[in-house]
């Protein structure tokens, strides 16, 4: 049983560019949440998707957007990249009715 998978694992972008990160949830899970983790800090909640809709959103600008597909996989898009967007982006899946999140290994984004 595959867990949560994320791609790419590492990427480098320059300021102003756009990036798309991808996530496949654990089998049987219907909810995907995205987190941003800056170096040495705790994960910060970006948003959560369920039934292909954004259900909850954290304190992130509109430059951060997402999508969930019918197969429950998800994408995180960040436009107009800033140096401060450099971080580890974590995808986590769960069942809406359950408790804990299962995390992928993350996508490390470096913005130069």
């Amino acid at each position: 049983d595959a867990g949560v998978t994320q791609s790419p694992t590492h990427l480098i972008k320059t300021r102003g560019q756009q990036v798309t990160l991808r996530c496949s949830p654990k089998s049987g899970h219907d909810t995907v949440s995205w987190y941003q983790q800056a170096l040495g800090q705790g994960p910060q909640f970006i948003f959560q998707y369920y039934e292909e809709e954004e259900r909850q959103r954290g304190n992130f600008p509109d430059r951060f957007s997402g999508h969930q597909f019918p197969n429950y996989s998800s994408e995180l898009n960040v436009n107009a990249l800033l140096l401060g967007d450099s971080a580890l982006y974590l995808c986590a899946s769960s069942r809406l009715s359950a408790g804990e999140l299962f995390f992928g290994e993350g996508s490390r984004l470096t913005v130069l």
Partner: protein
């Protein structure tokens, strides 16, 4: 709004000694509480959770946590620390219920260092 605090940035313990990593929370209603561990350059791994029932919850790798409603705390414990327990630990809280308002909020993390 829900929040969680981890008052210690770092905890240092000798191998074989008991360890405690502290966590306090704020949420309306009865919380769902979690502990996760993160090794360098890796995602977060689930250790244990409290939803309801016994205040002492047992989890992976010999860890346990004690829920204290009056003190709004959920401290992580282990009777005998191992060097391999050295990692970054995160406490997290979720508001109760099955509604769409089910985001999980994480603390800032506590680095646990176990010396041989």
């Amino acid at each position: 709004a829900q929040s969680v605090a981890q008052p210690e940035d770092q905890v240092n313990v000798a191998e074989g000694n008991p360890l405690t990593v502290k966590c306090t929370y704020s949420v309306s209603g009865n919380p769902y509480l979690f502990w996760y561990v993160q090794y360098p350059n890796r995602g977060l791994q689930f250790l244990l959770k409290y939803i309801t029932g016994d205040n002492l919850v047992k989890g992976s790798y010999g860890f346990e946590a004690e829920f204290n409603k009056s003190q709004t705390s959920f401290h992580l414990k282990k009777p005998s620390a191992l060097v391999s327990d050295s990692a970054l630990y995160f406490c997290a809280v979720r508001a109760p219920g099955y509604s769409s308002a089910s985001k999980i909020i994480f603390g800032s993390g506590t680095r646990l260092s176990i010396r041989p």
